[in-house]
Symmetry: C2
Subunit: 210 residues, 2 copies
C-alpha cells in the first residue's frame, strides 16, 4: 500500500504525537512549532520534522503546525479513521479487562465478537457483546469478516488458534500471551504485548539506576 518504507522507530512515535496533539488541543492551543513540541515531548525538533516529513509537509514556514490539522493527518496516517473489525479470544481476567477497558473505536478498531472455550461463560454479556463459544468462530468469521484478533489466551492455545485464524481472514493479532507469536504468512501482522518483558526491564532498570 505505502511505497516508502517507514522505519519502525517512526511508526512507534506516531501514536505519541497523536496523544500529545490531542492534549494540546484539549488545552485550547491551535498552533505549535516543532521546537515547542519537542520541548514538551522530550525529543529534538529535528526529529519531529523528519518524522512528519515521511508522510508529507504538514507545517508552514514561519508559522509551525496547526494542531487540529496535524492531529487529523496523523489519525489518517494511522488508519484510525477506517476502523477494522476485531474479535477477542479468551475472557479470563485479562481478556475481560481488555474488552471493558480499551476504547477500541478511538484507536482504529471495532470490537464485534468475544469468544471463549469455557461453556460456562458462553452467553454472558461483556460490554454489550455476548461471549460466544469458540466452536462458532469459523462461522462468525465467514459471516462478519473480522480482520484483527486480540489473543488473551495461554501461549499453547495462542499458537494453535492463530494459525487457524489466518485462513479465516484475520491479518492482525494483538497478542497478550507470554509467547512471541510469529506467523510466517505474508501480510500478517503481530503486535506483542508482553507484560512480563516490560516488568523485567523495569526490574533491571531499578537495580541499575544511579
Amino acid at each position: 500500500m505505502n511505497t516508502k518504507n517507514i522505519s519502525d522507530s517512526v511508526i512507534r512515535r506516531l501514536p505519541r504525537y497523536y496523544r500529545f496533539l490531542g492534549d494540546l488541543q484539549a488545552g485550547g492551543m491551535t498552533r505549535i512549532s516543532s521546537r515547542e513540541l519537542s520541548e514538551r515531548m522530550g525529543l529534538t525538533a529535528s526529529q519531529i520534522r523528519q518524522d512528519l516529513n515521511c508522510f508529507g509537509g504538514f507545517g508552514q514556514q514561519g508559522y509551525g503546525y496547526n494542531i487540529q490539522l496535524l492531529q487529523h493527518e496523523i489519525e489518517h496516517i494511522l488508519g484510525i479513521d477506517k476502523p477494522q473489525n476485531a474479535i477477542l479470544i479468551g475472557v479470563g481476567n485479562l481478556g475481560r479487562a481488555i474488552a471493558q477497558h480499551i476504547n477500541f473505536e478511538s484507536r482504529g478498531f471495532s470490537l464485534i465478537g468475544i469468544f471463549d472455550q469455557r461453556e460456562s461463560l458462553v452467553g454472558q454479556m461483556v460490554r454489550n457483546l455476548p461471549i460466544r463459544n469458540i466452536t462458532s468462530l469459523d462461522e462468525f468469521c465467514r459471516e462478519n469478516l473480522p480482520t484483527a484478533a486480540i489473543l488473551c489466551i495461554p501461549k499453547e492455545a495462542a499458537e494453535v488458534l492463530a494459525k487457524q485464524m489466518v485462513p479465516l481472514g484475520i491479518r492482525g493479532f494483538w497478542n497478550f500471551s507470554h509467547y512471541d507469536l510469529s506467523l510466517n504468512y505474508p501480510g500478517v501482522i503481530v503486535e506483542n504485548m508482553h507484560f512480563g518483558d516490560s516488568l523485567m526491564t523495569l526490574s533491571y532498570r531499578l537495580h541499575n539506576s544511579e
Copy 2:
C-alpha cells in the same frame, strides 16, 4: 550501580532471551550455540554474542552456551533473583486483572499492597491481599517500604499520585494510564504500558502491509 552503559535496545532484548532459554530448557535442551539461538529467535548470531558480552563471557568456544547457566545469569542481570516490593494503585477492571494475572514473583517483584480511593472496594480481597484505602498509602509505605508502584488509574490521578509517592520511597513506576508519566527525579524509573499506542501501531501496520 552498573558502570557500563547498556543501551536500551540490549536491555529490552534480555527478557526475550530469558523466555526463550526457559522454553528451551523446558524442552529438555542443555546447550545451544549463538547460531542456533539466532535462528529460533529471528536475530543474528552476532547480535546475541554482542548482547551477552555486555555483561560477561557466558559461553565457551567450540561448545556454545549452557542453557541453564545462561538463563541463570540473565535472571541475575535482570535482578529477578532479588524481588522488590511493589504496590498496585487502582482496582478497576484493569488493575484487578493485572493483580490476578501477572506472576510478579517470577519477574522480579513481590506485590504487597493494593489501594483504591473507592470506599466500597476497601476490604475486598484480591489475590490474597485486602484492598486498602488510598488514604492509608503514606502509612503503609513508611511501614513496608515498597520500591515500585503499578499505576492502574486515570492519567490525572497518575500524575498527581506519582509525585506524592516519590518522597515515600517509590523509585519505579509501571504506568498503565494513557499518559507519558515522566518524573524528573534522579533515579526514578518509569515503564509505560500504553495499550492505545500499541493498538494504533497495529492499525497502521494493518493498513500499510503488502
